[in-house]
């Protein structure tokens, strides 16, 4: 049985073309790009090409606006720390309740250790940002607003261009964690006011261990990792040449498949959602159906628990993920679904299906066939299923 992989928001398969592009830079072109000899020079040229490939995907004005780092997490951390250093006299951060832990853990730490004031902006039941609250929170003490481009669990897209303009009106910097958005939706950073943007290679069929922070030309930046002069002194440490070159190739491929992502991949996702809702009662889609990534579906199955669902799906060769507490090692369900006020009857049973260009119609058929008996089996076992009528929830499913 061929496995069906629908967990591409967790990580993607490295494209074989990407691996091919990287391989020579391990054993043949192994030089250090900073070295004053031919070994280094050849690598330097390849890095320049890779940087331009990523620049094109982002629609950035200059290739030197890209600073390579080890991960999206490092990029998020660096952006926030830099803003606090360069924005003299400003000691407040604005972010959203549904950010990735790479942002939320960092701002919580800064709040605790440096006395930074953090404004956490909430979302509505569809996961849409409360823009009025965001605008109200901005002020003369805001150093940086950091709002993700698209949410990893629901795929909901935030209006980052507009949010950046609002931040600038208040004299604040704007950063976006675009780890889930880069490569999935078209971008034109040169036309936007976004100051900083984080991305990660392995989310777009690139390798793991490489990420980047885009810093718009003219935005002052203070490095988090200090040492040598690599990346124009903005991120020390010998360049991860194979990783950077792999990310460049991945960016080129993502751009080539961009139309496919918007049309065919989105079509697969829509067919899966509609099919699941038709076949399985007491289920609904979470997130904003009008404004979300083309590849992400988050479906909540009421009265059952996510880990149990995933284990049964895994037995059928289907890989997805869940916002349930039990899968993460934490004891609380997903902070994203809780911020959206998804009721507990459903939050524990929310399953995220995330597609990529490598998925096919056959994958959707497999899932549509497998899910109804899995949900039925667990509901039969659940003490709440038969009593559901007396436990009607207040929550209005956004999309049925």
């Amino acid at each position: 049985m061929t496995p069906v992989y629908l967990d591409n928001n967790a990580t993607t398969r490295t494209d074989p073309e990407v691996v091919q592009a990287m391989l020579p830079y391990f054993t043949e072109q192994f030089g250090n790009a900073s070295s004053m000899h031919a070994f280094g020079a050849e690598v330097g040229e390849a890095l320049t090409t890779a940087r331009k490939q990523l620049q094109t995907l982002l629609g950035a004005a200059f290739d030197h606006e890209i600073i390579y780092m080890s991960s999206g997490t490092e990029a998020d951390n660096s952006a926030i720390l830099s803003a606090l250093e360069t924005q003299t006299g400003r000691d407040e951060i604005i972010t959203s309740a549904v950010e990735h832990p790479a942002v939320l853990s960092m701002v919580a730490h800064l709040e605790k250790t440096r006395g930074i004031t953090v404004h956490i902006i909430g979302v509505d039941s569809r996961g849409r940002l409360d823009i009025e609250a965001y605008a109200r929170a901005l002020g003369p003490r805001t150093a940086i607003a950091s709002i993700m481009w698209a949410n990893n669990e629901t795929g909901t897209i935030f209006p980052v261009e507009r949010l950046a303009e609002l931040a600038h009106e208040a004299g604040a910097l704007f950063h976006t964690d675009a780890v889930q958005a880069v490569g999935k939706i078209p971008m034109n950073l040169a036309e936007s006011e976004i100051d900083m943007l984080s991305l990660s290679g392995h989310k777009l069929h690139g390798p793991k261990g490489i990420g980047a922070l885009y810093v718009r030309k003219g935005v002052r930046f203070r490095p988090m990792v200090r040492g040598g002069h690599q990346e124009r002194g903005r991120r020390a440490g010998t360049e991860n040449a194979p990783g950077i070159i792999g990310l460049g190739k991945a960016a080129e491929l993502a751009l080539a498949h961009m139309d496919d992502e918007q049309t065919r991949v989105a079509g697969l996702r829509d067919r899966l959602e509609k099919g699941l809702l038709q076949r399985i009662g007491n289920s609904f889609v979470t997130g904003d159906p009008d404004n979300r990534l083309p590849n992400t579906a988050n479906v909540a199955f009421e009265y059952i628990e996510g880990e149990a669902i995933l284990l049964l799906m895994n037995r059928d060769g289907i890989a997805a993920s869940s916002g349930s507490a039990c899968t993460s090692g934490s004891l609380e369900p997903s902070h994203v679904l809780r911020a959206m006020n998804v009721p507990y009857t459903a939050a524990h049973g929310a399953i995220r299906f995330s597609f990529s260009r490598e998925n096919s119609d056959a994958d959707v058929d497999r899932v549509l066939e497998a899910m109804p008996p899995i949900v039925e089996k667990l509901r039969e076992m659940s003490p709440f299923w038969r009593e559901r009528d007396v436990r009607t929830s207040e929550f209005k499913p956004s999309y049925a």
């Binding site: 002194g233 059952i304 880990e307 149990a308 284990l311 039990c326 609380e332 369900p333």
Partner: protein, 304 residues
């Protein structure tokens, strides 16, 4: 992915005794949908022999919660009430060949459900109505009595274990101190009763952590130097650094000393080198070490 034993997987994929027991005469409900797991245990007790003749379960929860529930029914069917009540949550975990530490609360949920069902059969009230104050973990609604039972039953000696076994402390974790208090008290009682060695018992005073009222030790005061001695020492130290800079085609000269500010002139390859700030820092560190007082090295332009 959790490291479940084959038996856990088997009892999850093919659970025995799941469903509703129509003629149950004892029902125990524990957990809640908001907490992520809940178990309803239904038992049929034969009145004259006081034997559990049948048991069924309904569980909302993860794989190990369902497997633990099923294991519980297998363990109690055919046992007298007294025999069943002697079972511990560890017996449930052992039956399944063990559970991951973070999942031990699933076995505790089974234990609690059994006690609730037997209490219901006997017409007793299961101590589930938490009186104000008795609730220690408000996130998961865990009271002191349950924490105490679980510490004793499993020989727990850390707060982390309490969270793994009862979920208490697994949410906002503001009850950590309350958990430590209970743990210390119960462990103390267990030591007195010879159930636990004093070494392994939890004791807040012996846990290694920074002292709240600790005293900061200041570094030894700097050498008492006259201004002349200080400048001379700075000059001598810079002379010892120069050869290594000259090897790299650069140089460093002392220009002036004002209080704790040491003015130096970098020349040659040092000027404009991206490492000049590193050089300054290096010179500064050497000077502070030699002179023994805080100094700031300030570069002045070579054309000054």
């Amino acid at each position: 992915m959790w490291d479940y034993t084959d038996k856990v997987k088997d009892y999850f994929y093919n659970p025995k005794n799941s469903g509703i027991l129509e003629d149950a005469n004892g029902v125990g409900d524990v957990g809640a949908i908001s907490c992520g797991d809940a178990l309803r245990l239904m038992i049929k007790v034969d009145e004259p022999s006081q034997t559990i003749t049948d048991a069924r379960f309904q569980t909302f929860g993860c794989g190990s919660a369902i497997a633990s529930s099923s294991a519980l029914t297998e363990l109690i069917i055919g046992k007298t009430l007294d025999e069943a009540m002697a079972l511990t949550n560890q017996d449930i975990a052992d039956f399944l060949g063990g559970l991951p530490p973070e999942k031990m609360h699933c076995s505790v949920m089974g234990y609690e459900a059994l006690h609730a069902a037997v209490a219901n059969y006997r017409g007793e009230v299961w101590v589930d109505d938490h009186e104000e104050g008795a609730l220690i973990c408000k996130c998961f609604g865990v009271d002191e009595a349950m924490i105490e039972r679980t510490i004793r039953g499993n020989g727990l000696t850390s707060v982390e274990e309490i969270t793994n076994y009862t979920k208490a402390g697994g949410g906002c974790s503001t009850c950590a101190e309350g958990l430590e208090e209970v743990l210390e008290r119960i462990n103390g009682e267990m030591v007195a009763a010879g159930e636990l060695t004093a070494d392994s018992a939890f004791n807040r005073n012996t846990v290694i952590r920074p002292k709240k009222d600790g005293v900061v030790k200041l570094p030894p005061a700097g050498k008492q130097l006259t201004t002349l001695q200080k400048i001379k020492l700075i000059e001598e130290t810079i002379e010892t650094i120069r050869p290594s800079l000259q090897r790299d085609g650069g140089d460093c000269e002392l220009v002036d000393v004002e209080g704790n500010r040491v003015m130096v002139k970098l020349t040659g390859a040092c000027v404009g080198c991206h490492l000049s700030s590193a050089t300054i820092e290096g010179v500064q560190a050497r000077l502070i070490e030699a002179v023994g007082i805080p100094l700031v090295v300030v570069p002045v332009t070579p054309y000054h």
